[in-house]
């Protein structure tokens, strides 16, 4: 199995720092990092928390950054290649990480890994994503040009969200019975395609 962690200069440095950290402290650190790994662009620790970590682990800012980045990197590589926990442990020991730390990585990965992979699989980016489906069925009784209608009409509400925004855009569409039936038939064709993939 090709190694997923190459022993570069910065890896060597990071390993030295990580090896020096107390095991219990490191355990809490790695748990927090893996929890937030799937969130793009979000800081794992706030400025405040990073200050406290520097003191707690006796590391200066640069060293702390290196430790946090490398830990995250190791986990990201594990996810990317979907390595087995045992293999991960072996590879980390190969780059001279202490056995206790390597085992910690491996255990954390075994526990939180599968869920993380699922989350990342669902993180496919697209211009807009459908987040919400709502609907309303009305019985239209009349309109300006038509009295005594009694025609059912459905309003479909689709909530779309752009990739990096919190705002949901609502799209409303009106369907009479025939139109809705045609739409449904098209969805059935899509389903047929999806079924043929599995």
């Amino acid at each position: 199995m090709t190694s997923i962690i190459k022993e570069t200069q910065s890896i060597k440095e990071a390993v030295t720092f990580i090896n020096a950290i107390d095991v219990n402290k490191f355990s809490r650190l790695i748990s927090r990092i893996i929890q937030k790994l799937h969130l793009k662009g979000e800081r794992t620790f706030s400025e405040d928390e990073e200050q406290k970590l520097q003191t707690a682990l006796s590391l200066d800012k640069q060293a702390l950054d290196l430790v946090l980045e490398t830990t995250a990197f190791i986990l990201e590589q594990a996810v990317y290649h979907n390595v087995k926990p045992a293999a991960l442990q072996q590879q980390l020991e190969a780059v001279h990480l202490n056995p206790d730390k390597a085992e910690m990585f491996s255990q954390t990965w075994a526990a939180a890994g599968p869920e993380l992979v699922e989350k990342l699989k669902n993180n496919i980016f697209a211009p807009k994503k459908l987040e919400y489906v709502g609907w309303q069925l009305n019985l239209q009784m009349a309109q300006s040009s038509q009295a005594r209608l009694k025609s059912p009409s459905a309003i479909l509400q689709l909530g779309l969200r752009k990739e990096d925004s919190e705002v949901q855009e609502n799209v409303f569409a009106d369907f009479n019975h025939q139109e809705l039936l045609e739409f449904y038939n098209k969805l059935e064709v899509v389903q047929g395609q999806l079924d043929s993939l599995t």
């Binding site: 987040e131 609907w135 069925l137 038509q146 459905a154 479909l156 569409a173 039936l181």
Partner: protein, 211 residues
């Protein structure tokens, strides 16, 4: 049918609309040819077409003053729009004709009106007039694509399928968006649910009530 029965229900509702009343007073000396030309123009305008030039040529071809023509055209427009509003199951041809007879409109003209309201152009007129009514956009065009994401920057083997949808609505707006599988199932399920509810609704007795 006795005239008192016809008075119980006129296709224009309660009081005689002023346009219709003034039209009936202005039909003297109007020959059938002129009447039919005016009718054509009115039907054209109900269908949403522009008929300014048509009206001009009609006005030029006759000695009848323009304001009288105006009254006639307004009345025709009102008669036709009111008659088309009511579904044919409720307004029968004979009742319609009877209503017009009360206004002492000549029989030939009544037949002309009748052939528009109960003829084969009726559904086209209904569609044209209903486009002016308020409504939410309808789905005009729907295209889709099934994608499988094989690999991403975070996962070398992702193998996640998704659906990409492109919707064009009747108000011109255009939406292109990705639908995760779970949301697709939700959309499909809900659409089927609404269809079932529509079917149930259409079977219920409220819709069988004839008015």
């Amino acid at each position: 049918m006795s005239s008192s029965h016809a008075k119980d229900f006129s296709f224009w509702g309660g009081r005689i609309p002023p346009e219709i009343e003034s039209m009936s007073k202005n039909l003297k000396d109007v020959d059938q040819e002129l009447f039919r030309k005016l009718m054509k123009a009115v039907v054209s305008s109900l269908e949403g077409k522009d008929c300014v030039s048509l009206m001009k040529s009609i006005a030029e071809s006759t000695t009848i003053p323009q304001d009288r023509l105006g009254h006639i055209v307004a009345g025709m427009h009102r008669v036709l729009s009111e008659a088309i509003r009511v579904p044919p199951s409720s307004l029968k041809q004979e009742a319609f004709k009877e209503n017009l007879r009360e206004l002492r409109i000549p029989e030939d003209f009544i037949s002309d009106f009748s052939s528009v309201v109960f003829g084969n152009r009726r559904s086209a007129l209904e569609t044209a007039t209903s486009t002016n009514d308020p409504h939410l956009p309808a789905l005009q065009d729907f295209k889709w694509r099934v994608d499988v994401a094989i690999s991403t920057s975070s996962l070398s083997r992702a193998l996640r399928s998704s659906v990409l949808m492109q919707m064009k609505l009747s108000d011109g707006s255009f939406h292109c968006f990705e639908v995760p599988l779970s949301k697709f199932q939700e959309l499909r399920y809900n659409t089927a649910l609404i269809l079932k509810e529509m079917n149930d609704l259409e079977k219920r007795s409220i819709l069988q009530i004839q008015d």
